[in-house]
Symmetry: C2
Subunit: 116 residues, 2 copies
DNA sequence: GCCTTCTGTCAGTTCTCGCTAACGTTAGCG
DNA sequence: CGCTAACGTTAGCGAGAACTGACAGAAGGC
């Protein structure tokens, strides 16, 4: 449930929610930096935290936000947690940005106004 | 100065700043709705504000944020101000998202670490 | 079993952001 | 020139977000 079609949808959450979560996650500069960091190389939490001058707590929270938005994936290996960027999620976001124009919501409204 | 190459750059502001501004602007759900509203049809400020249940002041501020991010353009006609979405800006944002992977910043760092 | 390492979680503080209400400004009409 | 309409701007307030410091828990070495 939740999916309106059998399209490219990856997770059960409504599409606009996930897009909103991704955009909110990317709005933060440090989270963008983290995403770039794990774009090509899988890295552990502590490894990532070492790259920044904020506390490990802050980085951990950023990782949580990124993970819940779907932009990164978590993999556990012993006591460590390895993170990697999910390019599929970014592609979905890019498609949603195109949807701003292709979704004919505005056109429908314009037509109604034109008829009156 | 500021531009590192002779690419698709539209404005003099540093690329990452503009991308950050766009992402911050799009993080707000209402601003996304406004952008969709002016995606295909050019609309006046009051016209846009009438679509929402918040005050015209709030909408005006949202329009300012969107405008400063480059996502929308303003055109004055008498006492009215008409707004339209700038698809070029969105394309630039989409390209920047791809750049997360193609920008070899992470790979360079990985190489350094590998050598030591 | 004990100690260390790696990590997430919780409580509290500060700062940012979106909202409202009142005011200032510019263009057009009579 | 006085008046109205359409906007933007400022000050102030409340909700939310990012950060820190202290605590809790799981995996591995000795």
């Amino acid at each position: 449930m939740g999916g309106t079609d059998g399209g490219i949808v990856t997770s059960p959450a409504p599409l606009d929610d996930r897009v909103g979560a991704m955009l909110r996650a990317l709005a933060e500069p440090r989270r963008r930096a983290i995403l770039r960091l794990v774009a090509t190389t899988e890295r552990a939490a502590g490894e990532i935290a070492a790259e920044f001058e904020v506390s490990r707590t802050a980085v951990s929270q950023h990782l949580t936000v990124l993970k819940e938005s779907g932009l990164i994936a978590e993999r556990r290996e012993g006591t460590r947690r390895l993170y990697r960027a999910r390019r599929e999620a970014v592609r979905e976001l890019q498609a949603a940005l195109d949807g701003i124009w292709s979704d004919a919501l505005d056109r429908a409204r314009a037509l109604v106004e034109e008829e009156s």
